[in-house]
């Protein structure tokens, strides 16, 4: 048993797990506020990364400006998507809304391929590239800083949603829509807010993921792993998203390191089925009681 190897792989796994947790947070935010299962989360990630790529490489803007512009652009995109495609579906069956997001993901993939072609692209480097050593274990610097960004952002998001008025409104809407209406919260605006915030978080995650693994129009596959994360954690649980994010990241990394790359998705999806069998509502999700 090579302990150093195990340690390095585990660290890499936790690093990518941080990104899963971050994206899962964006997902859970939308789900809690609007009860929409957003299959397009991976594509929102991709769109954010491509926006940054377009502004930094195609337009030649300075990198930090491009990053901020990409995040804002994604937020606007999220608002547009919510207004045009999700709002009209209010009150429809969850399955229809889910299929709308499937359609949206297809549209986003098509747009990206139309503008930037389906070829692999590289984001300009913007993170320090000195190797990071933790004791004797080596961590890829991108993964390390990516994890830091993710952790920082998660903390910021949690603080914001705890203390900011809009965040409180969002949590109120999540826990009881009718009650939120009756205390004067503008619920439709909360829906917009959730989509905008989620799109912005997804864009940041996308920029980090893109700078680690490069850009391609199939980047949305990342979203499938995130889907597993949120199901394992429980669709409506922030804590679940964070714990499951790290767990799935670790699992994927271990499976990839010891069994080979093709076992990554197999491991995550097997876990998913196992969790669904044992705890159908995820590790931390609320078990809904159905009434006739």
């Amino acid at each position: 048993m090579d302990w150093l190897y195990l340690l390095e792989i585990s660290l890499a796994g936790i690093g990518s797990g941080g990104l899963y947790a971050l994206t899962a947070l964006a997902f859970v935010m939308i789900y809690k506020a609007t009860k929409v299962v957003n299959l397009a989360i991976g594509e929102m990630l991709m769109l954010g990364a491509y926006l940054m790529f377009g502004m930094a490489s195609n337009l030649g803007w300075p990198i930090w400006v491009a990053i901020v512009a990409a995040i804002i652009g994604s937020g606007i995109g999220g608002a547009i998507v919510e207004r045009l495609a999700i709002r009209p579906m209010l009150g429809e069956s969850p399955i229809s809304v889910f299929m709308v997001t499937v359609g949206l993901s297809s549209v986003m993939i098509g747009l990206v391929e139309l503008i930037w072609t389906a070829d692999q692209q590289r984001l300009p480097e913007f993170m320090p590239s000195d190797p990071i050593m933790l004791g004797e274990a080596f961590i890829s610097p991108k993964l390390f800083y990516g994890f830091l960004v993710a952790a920082a952002l998660i903390i910021i998001a949690l603080v914001v949603f705890r203390f900011w008025r809009g965040g409180v409104a969002l949590r109120a809407t999540a826990s009881d829509q009718a009650a939120a209406y009756s205390v004067g919260i503008n619920v439709p605006r909360v829906f917009s807010l959730a989509w905008i915030a989620a799109a912005m978080i997804a864009a940041i995650a996308g920029i980090v993921v893109g700078s680690i693994g490069g850009l391609s129009s199939s980047m949305g596959v990342f979203g499938l792993s995130v889907l597993v994360v949120v199901i394992v954690g429980g669709l409506d649980s922030v804590l679940g998203a964070l714990v499951a994010g790290l767990g799935i990241g670790l699992l994927e990394s271990l499976a990839g390191g010891y069994l080979g790359g093709e076992f990554k998705l197999l491991a995550t999806f097997s876990t998913l089925i196992l969790v669904l069998m044992i705890r159908p509502y995820g590790l931390f999700g609320t078990h809904e009681i159905e009434r006739l």
């Binding site: 299962v37 009209p88 399955i95 299929m99 709308v100 549209v107 391929e113 889907l227 089925i273 669904l276």
Partner: protein, 348 residues
């Protein structure tokens, strides 16, 4: 309800098509299906076969999603199972084509029942995602069980043999694919007039109520999964005979989404919807190809075709869900209603 169909016997009341007009139109359709291969060229025959395969698979998904209300994103993987079964049987043993197709359906059915087991505890989207998981696991099996499936390289399928005639052209395959698809359609249409089909519909409308009424959810949900994946398996078998190459990449998640989209665009929970949806979704890329060909784009055209197709595909799903959730069959019904009531005005 049609005008002027006073039903005077139970047999008449139970019949699938109850007016003479319907039978006349059906007869015309049958004749045109018979004549079709003799008057069109290879391209149209190719499309006809593809449409028939897609209709079979979409109808299977419609049984599960449209009628039982269980969303599945694993239809392509089940087709893959059928295709691999057919490919292996045809390559190794050379058994008769019809037997292979049934075997393909049976294998898909068995796996479908296993995949359906989570449906007892989870519903809706959780279930959809567990079927995604199942399809990834199946993809893994296809790609890594090399001794049986030929690994990532896939396998080639010898042409089906029908009493010594190799079915190796679209023209010859038409006579296998279209009758099989038609048989499956008639079976599906009849299914929903039986106890089983009614139980499916009850489960879709409210599963707890259905259980209270005495419908065993376990048995009927698994039956629905079994039937749906049987359809997918047979369609996959036809697919294998049609394309003659089966690889793990032939049945991506995108294909499952395609079938779900076909069912939605056509209209969930109607047989006609599955048919219209499959035809529409298969023809849209071809029409797009034509349109892009007409536009003065030169070599650009080929480059933008695939992204445009992806965008249109997504827009169709979103557009139909928002503007016409009942799908194409509702449009069709409205047109028909107009003519039924003519010269009076149809309301709604």
């Amino acid at each position: 309800m049609r005008i002027g169909t006073a039903k005077q016997s139970y047999a008449h009341d139970e019949s699938l098509f109850d007016t003479r007009t319907q039978w006349v139109w059906l007869g015309l359709l049958g004749v045109s299906l018979l004549l079709f291969p003799f008057v069109v060229d290879d391209y149209w025959l190719y499309l006809a076969c593809l449409v028939a395969i897609n209709i079979a698979s979409a109808t299977g998904l419609n049984i599960l999603t449209g009628y039982t209300g269980l969303v599945s994103l694993g239809q392509a993987a089940f087709m893959g199972l059928g295709a691999y079964t057919v490919a292996i049987l045809e390559q190794r043993f050379g058994t008769p084509a019809v037997l292979n197709l049934v075997a393909g359906g049976a294998v898909a059915m068995l796996v479908g029942v296993v995949v359906g087991i989570p449906s007892l505890r989870v519903k809706g989207l959780y279930l959809a995602i567990s079927t995604i998981a199942a399809s990834f696991i199946l993809h893994f099996v296809f790609a890594n069980w090399s001794s049986l499936t030929g690994g990532t390289g896939g396998m080639t399928v010898p042409p089906a043999n029908f009493f010594g005639i190799p079915l190796d052209t679209s023209f010859r395959l038409y006579w296998l694919i279209v009758p099989v698809a038609l048989t499956m359609l008639v079976c599906a249409a009849n299914l929903f007039r039986t106890r089983i089909g009614r139980a499916f519909i009850a489960i879709r409308d409210r599963d707890i109520s259905a259980e209270v009424l005495g419908i065993p959810l376990l048995r009927y949900k698994l039956t629905s999964f079994a039937l749906s994946s049987f359809y997918a398996g047979v369609a996959g078998g036809l697919w294998a005979y049609f394309f003659r190459v089966v690889t793990p990449e032939s049945f991506p998640l995108m294909m499952s989404i395609f079938f779900l989209a076909a069912v939605i665009v056509g209209g969930m929970g109607t047989i006609l919807g599955g048919i219209l949806g499959a035809i529409f979704m298969t023809m849209v890329p071809e029409v797009l190809k034509l349109i892009v060909g007409w536009l003065p784009l030169g070599s650009e055209g080929a480059v933008i075709l695939s992204p445009v197709r992806t965008i249109v595909f997504g827009l169709l799903i979103v557009g139909f869900l928002i503007f016409e959730p009942l799908g194409l069959q509702e449009l069709w019904r409205r047109v028909r209603r107009f003519f039924h009531l003519w010269p009076f005005r149809a309301q709604g």
